[in-house]
Symmetry: C2
Subunit: 202 residues, 2 copies
């Protein structure tokens, strides 16, 4: 049985919920009280010493890190072999955006933590970092519908949530029309589910 | 022909040089003048809009991001299929440390940039972040020789360089005896090569 240690408002947990739903996989959720920092308690750091959500369990396999969980789920449960194809070139191309989704785009996640939960972080620096990667992402999407391979992959799943939630960090997406069209494309995927702050397709 | 856009003192570029040498792959190097910020010039950002090194070319495939390049090289050129095995559980486990190698461990890389190139970053915060991940890494290595799968994988390659270079960022590794033993193990790998600041095995 798959179990996801989850927080409803976390974009990182939502990556996993979204992909599980797209793949049509049943799973259990265990709520982590992120607002009250349950993820930093000894009970939780015994599951993930990094003290971060999500954490993922599939029988005796435990994984931390949203991107790693996406890699596992695609390899194990994607019968279409399209979300993280087995060939080296596809995996390398997709891995670039797994790094971006867990890296530069997390500037937008940080900005959101400042705005929503009043984290004492440098909002301006985070917004600048987010705008820098959104400029690159928008240019990249100027002549393609999906981040790599001309079809949806876990690259899109990894980069979607905190881009779609940028407004909650005070970052406007209006200057990025290609991103806006790509977000809409993701929302049209069979199995798409929303989360608070990310509405279904209009 | 493989071409690596390289800077000798970059631990991220060294990840790729090290793995190419372990795999016994011939390649061309093109030097990027990192000190004079050539990686931020239009000529280079046309190759990698993120303005970061390394960049990698294999015929018509272009990749940015050291971790993505490791994924590609293992999939394409590792005849042993041990460095990034094809099964979902192995890939998921290894992907966790690709995130860590490109993520938390880069705190040590940032501290080194402050010390060596006088980057205007928050040294104390970077050192604290590095020590936090080194504590986790040391605990993880208490009962294992390699990060995952009981043998060397690209997880080890991704995390090795900036851990081994920690001293150049003013971060002592003496409190982490399991890390020190693991670094020595990596240095004993067939095909290991040093870089400035990382000496061969004693």
């Amino acid at each position: 049985m798959i179990k996801l240690y989850d927080f409803e408002l976390s974009g990182s947990c939502y990556k996993i919920r979204l992909f599980l739903n797209i793949l049509g996989i049943e799973y259990q959720k265990e709520n982590v009280d992120f607002v009250n920092k349950e993820h930093k308690t000894p009970k939780y750091t015994a599951l993930n010493p990094f003290g971060e959500i999500p954490v993922f369990e599939d029988d005796d396999l435990w994984l931390r890190d949203a991107q790693a969980i996406l890699v596992y789920l695609a390899g194990k449960y994607d019968g279409s072999h399209t979300w993280f194809p087995a060939d080296a070139a596809s995996q390398g191309k997709i891995a670039q955006w797994l790094s971006t989704g867990g890296g530069e785009i997390m500037n937008a996640a940080g900005a959101r933590l400042v705005k929503i939960l009043h984290y004492p972080l440098d909002l301006e620096k985070l917004q600048t970092g987010a705008n820098r990667v959104f400029r690159i992402l928008d240019d990249h999407l100027a002549d393609r519908d999906w981040l790599e391979l001309d079809h949806p992959t876990i690259a899109d799943i990894a980069c979607f949530p905190y881009t779609a939630l940028a407004g909650e960090g005070g970052i406007a997406l209006a200057p990025y029309p290609n991103i806006l069209r790509w977000l809409e494309r993701v929302k049209q995927l069979p199995g798409f589910i929303p989360m608070p702050g990310i509405t279904p397709s209009v």
